[in-house]
């Protein structure tokens, strides 16, 4: 199983029945593939659909039904079309139960940086700042290191996405929960040791007695 699949499978376990969930583009969108059948959730895309479904069969695409990345999608029974004011009203107003986003850095305060690298990459924040500021739970799904360099750091050096402590970090090596006391290591990846996680992390990790190995959906 590659790193991305491990992450997507682990994040899928965070999705509970009845939730309204926003999945970011890329890795986070893979989470939808690993949900148990008995979990009844609505996926929201910030461009304006609640009840996002799978890709349509070829030839059945609709130019007016895409996800936030512009890819063709379908709508499940009971879906709703909303405009951007309602879409972000739901996000900022705390109606979104969970958002799963990628990350460039997360620090010991639980702050996320995921929208720009000054001088290199300035794509714009899109909906990320509203999602991180407003969703009930913010789960960051990312590979643990970037070209060997830790992404979980003492303090973000990149511009922050929001002044909000995120809820959970899921990487292929670990599940880490930001708390008021700092970053608590909750689980390690398949075959990964606590020491290996610590080596790949420049932030201080709080290691409690029991660190379980990740369950995967």
């Amino acid at each position: 199983m590659d790193a991305k699949e491990i992450i997507a499978r682990r994040v899928a376990l965070e999705v509970k029945d009845g939730m309204l969930v926003n999945l970011g583009i890329g890795l986070p969108s893979m989470v939808a593939n690993f949900l148990p059948d008995d979990v009844d959730v609505f996926f929201q895309a910030e461009n304006g659909v609640i009840g996002l479904g799978a890709r349509p069969p070829e030839g059945m695409e609709d130019a007016d039904l895409t996800d936030a990345g512009g890819a063709f999608v379908t709508a499940v029974p009971g879906a709703a079309s909303i405009d951007s004011a309602m879409s972000f009203g739901l996000i900022r107003g705390g109606h979104l139960d969970m958002t799963v986003l990628g990350g460039l850095q997360v620090d010991e305060r639980g702050y996320l940086a995921n929208w720009m690298v000054p001088g290199k990459m300035v794509p714009g924040m899109g909906g990320a700042m509203d999602l991180v500021a407003g969703a009930k739970r913010v789960v960051v799904a990312m590979v643990h290191t970037q070209k060997g360099k830790p992404k979980i750091v003492p303090e973000c050096t990149l511009p922050l996405t929001a002044l909000r402590r995120i809820s959970l970090i899921v990487t292929e090596m670990a599940v880490i929960q930001p708390t008021e006391e700092g970053l608590v290591l909750r689980e390690v990846g398949p075959g990964v040791t606590v020491e290996q996680v610590q080596e790949a992390t420049s932030a201080n990790l709080i290691v409690q007695d029991v660190v379980q190995e990740m369950k995967l959906a």
Partner: protein, 217 residues
Amino acid sequence: MKRATKVEAAAELIPEGSTLLIGGFMGVGSPHRLIDALVERGVGGFTVVANDTAMPGTGIGKLVTAGLIARAVVSHIGLNPETQAKMISGEIDVDLVPQGTLVERIRAGGVGLGGVLTATGLGTPVEEGKQVVEVEGRRFLLEIPIRGDFALIAAKSADYKGNLEYSLTAHNFNPVMALAADTVIAEPHTILPVGAIPPDAVKTPGVLVDHLLEREH
């Protein structure tokens, strides 16, 4: 009653240097015929307020390629390398605004609010230069209204009173932009007789729409 306008005549209404609110999300729900007519005409220097600049060859991306945009107020340019290159070269002045804040600023401009308070952007570069207002012990950014000289919006259908319906994820910024410009030009896929759109289905009341483009051929 509104007589439908030819797309070339609608484009002629728009002077050089105008501020344009343009609907669409990665090109979905953008007024494509109007954009093509603007490119054909070649008058530019526009300030464009929109969710994004789409991709080269799509929607607002065509205005970027044609060099008609002097300033862009958008949430995201990540999928249009031309916009990024023109931002770096200084040809386009890019103002990045969080997506939820952007839609609320346009709404505020449309519904006569002097501004709105949001936590989105606090502690990030978005905070720079903005008034911070405290309400019941919590800090918020004061975000001020945006209005356009013109709103260029797309719709699923119109009637000859200008009432508009939208489709699925092609709603996005269109309904809010219809509130916030001195002149609103709507590009519907089809135009129905007055009375054919039930009152409960109208998302943009016709009184907001100044010009209606002829239906597609």
